[in-house]
Amino acid sequence: MTSIASTYHQAAQRIASHPQSERLRKLLFALHYHQWPSHAPEMNTAQLEEMLGAIVQHSQTPKGLATQLTGIVSTLNKAQVYQKVAAALLQIVAPLYPQASSVAVAKPALSMAELYNLRLELTRYCTPLQVKLLLAALLTHKPVHAQGLERFTLIDLLQRVVGRFSDSEALRARVQQALQQFNNDGVYANVGDRLLKLLQRFPSDAAVEVTMETTPPTVDPAAGDDDDELTCQLFA
């Protein structure tokens, strides 16, 4: 076995034997298929190695992986639990990257109470549907239709946007890009402007630092590993 193959084998074994193996596999599945699984997928070590290879190739850097994990975790109703699981996964996967160094999984930037206040402020001068359409346009490059958004609440979309754009400059650029879909309609421009301003009011997100040298983060294995997490239909 080559040293690279051995590293992948070790990572797969650590996932398989981890006390939170089911949750780790759920996160891996979401990373790979961009969809939250209703049950932890059954995978043997070889399948885990294969999936790890694809994930490492796709995310390219530990930082890229951390960003992806942050985005997924922020969409879950058990975000706090999965934040620790994601940190544990990052700890396991980081050595697979050649330039592995210090990486972090960001905490959900806003509490639920703050998200509800943000929703209220955003809908003060326009309809909730207009806010939803803009938020969806930030999350996907595909055309968005109102009826297609009925299965997502505005809070769902806000959580995803906040989770995906931790960098305000990246969000600003994406808003400018998305507004072109709306022919720079003033209503949507106002929503985008308001979103950027309101997000600046909230404290910048803290991050759980995971370095190669540190002890893996403790994950409570008793925390009832049921399957009631919000089904995570990630936008493409």
Binding site: N77, K78, M112, A113, Y116, R119, L120, T123, T127, P128, L129, Q130, V131, K132, A146, Q147, L149, E150, T153, L154, I155, D156, D220, A222, A223, G224, D228
Partner: protein, 345 residues
């Protein structure tokens, strides 16, 4: 029109298509009482102040239309679809929304008194300070709706609002007065009920998973078999609440007041009850394995066969509490005030 019992009689049964309706409105006509507009489609229409009392709007499709201060009382909107429409300060009393879909609409300060919303869906709609008294909400979906300041209270104080089985998933009900309402079997998962008045409500079998109930008043509430897994109940007032058979797994009840609460057979593994007040609470056969009860007050509490395995009871007050048959394996009782008044060392 005979179906709406409209008190007015302007253009009874006069059928109009969208073009004629808009043309008349543009010419300055605002009175369209009892007109028949069934099945028409309108987009971005500005219909501020239009009088559509008793009109038939069955099966219409209205997108981003503005009905601010419009009068739609007694209007028939069965099976209609409203996308992003604005009904701010509109009068919708006694209107019929049965089977209608309203997506991302605004009903702020609207009067919906006595409206029939049976089987209707109001997805992500805003109802800020709206009048929802005597509204029929049978099987209504209010997922993602913002209902801050909405008035659900009926005129007759003896007859509480009936909201049985309503879908309030991710709804914002912060500070709402729902005292004595019947919310049995409602879906309030992820809902924001911060500082809401839920005094004496019936929330039996309700789904409150991950709901925010921080500072809410739930005294005398009926929460039998309710699911509060992961809910935020910090500083909530739950005196004399009946939570028998409920779920509090991983819920945050720090500094909550649960005096004389019925917590029999509650599943509360990993719950945070730091500094909670549980005086005279009944926790028989409850499971609080791994819970945090540091500095909790359990004076005169009844803990017969309660599972307190691995519980943190550091500095808790257990004076006169019945813990004789409680399972205390691996529990931390450091500096706790024991039932006989001694300090555990």
């Amino acid at each position: 029109m005979t179906t709406t019992n409209s008190p007015v009689n302007c253009l009874p049964d006069l059928t109009m298509d969208a073009a004629e309706f808009l043309e008349r409105y543009d010419r300055g006509q605002t009175q369209f009482c009892e007109v028949n507009l069934a099945g028409i489609t309108l987009t971005n229409a500005d219909l501020i102040g239009v009088d559509l009392r008793g009109a038939s709007l069955q099966g219409v499709y209205f997108e981003f239309c503005h009905f601010g201060r419009a009068d739609l009382s007694y209007a028939l909107m069965t099976g209609a679809r409203f996308e992003g429409c604005n009904f701010t300060q509109a009068v919708l009393s006694k209107s019929h929304f049965r089977d209608a879909i309203c997506h991302g609409c605004v009903f702020d300060r609207a009067n919906l008194q006595g409206a029939d919303l049976t089987l209707a869906a109001f997805l992500d709609c805003n109802f800020l300070s709206s009048d929802l008294r005597q509204v029929n909400l049978s099987h209504t979906v209010l997922a993602g709706a913002c209902l801050r300041g909405a008035n659900f209270r009926k005129e007759n104080y003896q007859e509480p609002a009936n909201l049985v089985g309503v879908d309030f998933r991710h709804a914002d009900l912060q500070g709402t007065n729902l005292a004595s309402a019947n919310l049995a079997r409602t879906n309030l998962a992820g809902a924001n009920l911060k500082e809401a008045n839920l005094n004496g409500v019936n929330l039996s079998q309700a789904d409150l998973t991950n709901a925010n109930l921080q500072g809410a008043i739930l005294s005398h509430a009926l929460l039998c078999e309710a699911n509060l897994t992961g809910a935020n109940l910090r500083q909530a007032r739950l005196a004399k609440v009946d939570l028998r058979g409920g779920h509090l797994t991983e819920a945050d009840l720090s500094q909550a007041i649960l005096s004389e609460a019925r917590l029999d057979e509650v599943q509360g593994e990993g719950a945070n009850l730091r500094e909670a007040v549980l005086n005279k609470a009944d926790l028989r056969r409850a499971n609080f394995k791994g819970a945090d009860l540091q500095e909790a007050r359990l004076i005169d509490a009844y803990l017969a066969r309660t599972n307190l395995q691995g519980v943190n009871l550091r500095q808790a007050n257990l004076i006169r509490a019945d813990i004789s048959s409680a399972l205390l394996l691996d529990a931390c009782l450091e500096e706790a005030l024991m039932p006989d008044g001694s300090v555990y060392t």
